[in-house]
């Protein structure tokens, strides 16, 4: 249909025209005024306590203690089971969060502004690897780090970014692709570029040397620091694509550890949901697949804009890290994903693939027709609350989501 083709070209145009800039770090309650006491935003499509997986429950209990809503983890879990917390997806509030994706009032969130469309998107700050809340960690070490992010790094980053009038991200991501990042499981290049951009302003706006040293050390020692920035960027790019009549382009893919959900431009805010799958990957020493939780997180927003598994060709090292084979096979993932996308991004190119642009704008029609589900690079959480990350791998978006979406999309087009 001509109408679908032109609507999808408009969706692609909006994605490519986005001008995302990291502008601030502010408390989540300031970024999202609708956030209230006892209200918890989580990754993925809507879910309630009874259906939550172990890591998600662990994170909920932990964040309730962090916010001062419960004195300890056991009481927090009892309160959750008694319905004392209100759960909503991050996506409902212009927000995204990695893995468990906890967002609550007193956490600092990074703000990415899309200056072409004048919209903003938010994501909490990356906590580093290992035992962290996004993987369900909730002990004293995890909560103390969250307090430090709230009281020290968040405000410091906010001051620095405001002094800089923001850091433009489009060109920075382009450089990151050339440095071997795919912005999901590898963010070494972009994290370094962010540190280089923000360090002078951090120093200039800091009044305490110790806090400055801690801030620089944390960012410099965290290879995944940029992931959460990339996620807020992805959300800022995709939100202007929501609601284009006749467009079959995906605007969000997300998982909550129990279900995988997608949203499609032409069907607005409706989630199309299916049981989430188990990642296929490699495990840290001492862990096996028997320890793993099914796939989780809003981080698939980076694949939605052509990064992560779609940009695997830029990051051959990731192919080995996530256990999908030889580095030389990385390009095949990107080429395969180009079969289910509307076009390429001419500003985000892969040098090793003759400067091919990353495949952008997933068309649900092409996914269903070819049977090629989007490839997602992902971290793997332990299935029990409080343990943390146990590996990394690749997972496919469930085909059932796209099949449901196709039927609903066809109805909007008067086709049955």
């Amino acid at each position: 249909m001509e109408k679908i083709e032109s609507a999808n070209q408009e969706a692609l145009r909006r994605m490519l025209a986005g001008d995302p800039v990291l502008v601030d770090v502010i408390p989540a309650s300031e970024a999202i005024p609708d956030l209230r006491e006892h209200m918890i935003l989580h990754a993925g499509p809507p879910i309630e306590w009874a259906s939550m997986c172990g890591p998600m429950r662990g994170a909920v209990a932990g964040i309730a203690v962090f916010e001062g809503w419960a004195p300890d983890l056991d009481v927090a879990a009892d309160m959750a089971a008694a319905g004392e917390f209100e759960f909503h997806p991050n996506h409902r509030f212009d927000s995204v969060g990695p893995m468990t994706g906890m967002t609550t009032m007193n956490q600092p969130v990074m703000v990415v502004e899309n200056r072409t469309f004048d919209n903003r998107a938010f994501c909490t700050m990356n906590e580093g690897l290992g035992k962290v809340m996004r993987f369900g960690g909730n002990d004293a070490e995890v909560l103390d780090r969250l307090r430090w992010l709230r009281d020290s790094l968040g405000p410091s980053m906010g001051r620095a970014l405001r002094a800089l009038d923001g850091i433009p991200l489009k060109g920075l991501v382009g450089r990151g692709l050339a440095m071997g990042d795919e912005m999901h499981q590898r963010n070494v290049g972009c994290s370094g570029l962010i540190l280089r951009a923000v360090a002078p302003a951090l120093a200039e706006t800091s009044s305490e040397t110790g806090a400055l040293v801690d801030a620089l050390s944390f960012i410099g020692g965290n290879d995944q620091f940029f992931l959460n920035i990339a996620m807020a960027m992805g959300k800022a790019i995709t939100d202007p694509v929501i609601g284009i009549e006749g467009s079959s382009v995906v605007t969000a893919m997300s998982r909550n550890g129990t279900d995988f959900g997608i949203r499609v431009s032409g069907t607005g805010d409706t989630w199309f949901v299916a049981p989430v799958e188990m990642p296929d990957g490699l495990y840290f020493p001492g862990f096996t697949e028997a320890d793993a939780n099914p796939d989780m997180g809003d981080s698939t927003i980076v694949e939605t804009v052509g990064l992560g598994g779609f940009a695997m060709g830029a990051a051959p090292a990731v192919a080995g890290f996530v256990g999908v084979g030889a580095a030389s096979e990385a390009a095949n993932f990107t080429r395969t994903m180009s079969q289910i996308t509307v076009g390429e991004n001419p500003e985000w190119t892969i040098p090793a693939m003759d400067y091919m642009g990353v495949p952008t704008g997933i068309d649900i029609r092409l996914v269903v027709e070819t049977g090629l589900a989007p490839t997602i690079n992902t971290g793997i959480a332990h299935k029990d609350p409080g343990v943390g990350q146990v590996g990394a791998g690749v997972v496919r978006a469930p085909m059932a989501c796209f099949e449901q979406a196709l039927v609903a999309f066809a109805e909007t087009m008067g086709v049955s």
Partner: protein, 61 residues
């Protein structure tokens, strides 16, 4: 000898050159036996689901 039978004999007595469509394992089996094979990666639209294939066809009209 009828012409078509002669053609069949010629075919069977010549080296095989195979185009395999669909299941890659068939191509691999022939390759393993030294047969020249070109594999075409193909599957029916929508995994063979007739309802979804019909929807796709209508959405492409």
């Amino acid at each position: 000898m009828p012409e078509n039978k002669q053609q069949l004999n010629t075919l069977l007595n010549s080296p095989l050159h195979v185009i395999n469509v669909g299941l890659e394992e068939f191509a691999q089996n022939l390759k393993d036996r030294g047969v020249s094979v070109v594999h075409v990666d193909w599957s029916p639209p929508a995994g063979g689901n007739p309802k979804l294939a019909a929807l796709l066809a209508k959405l492409s009209e």
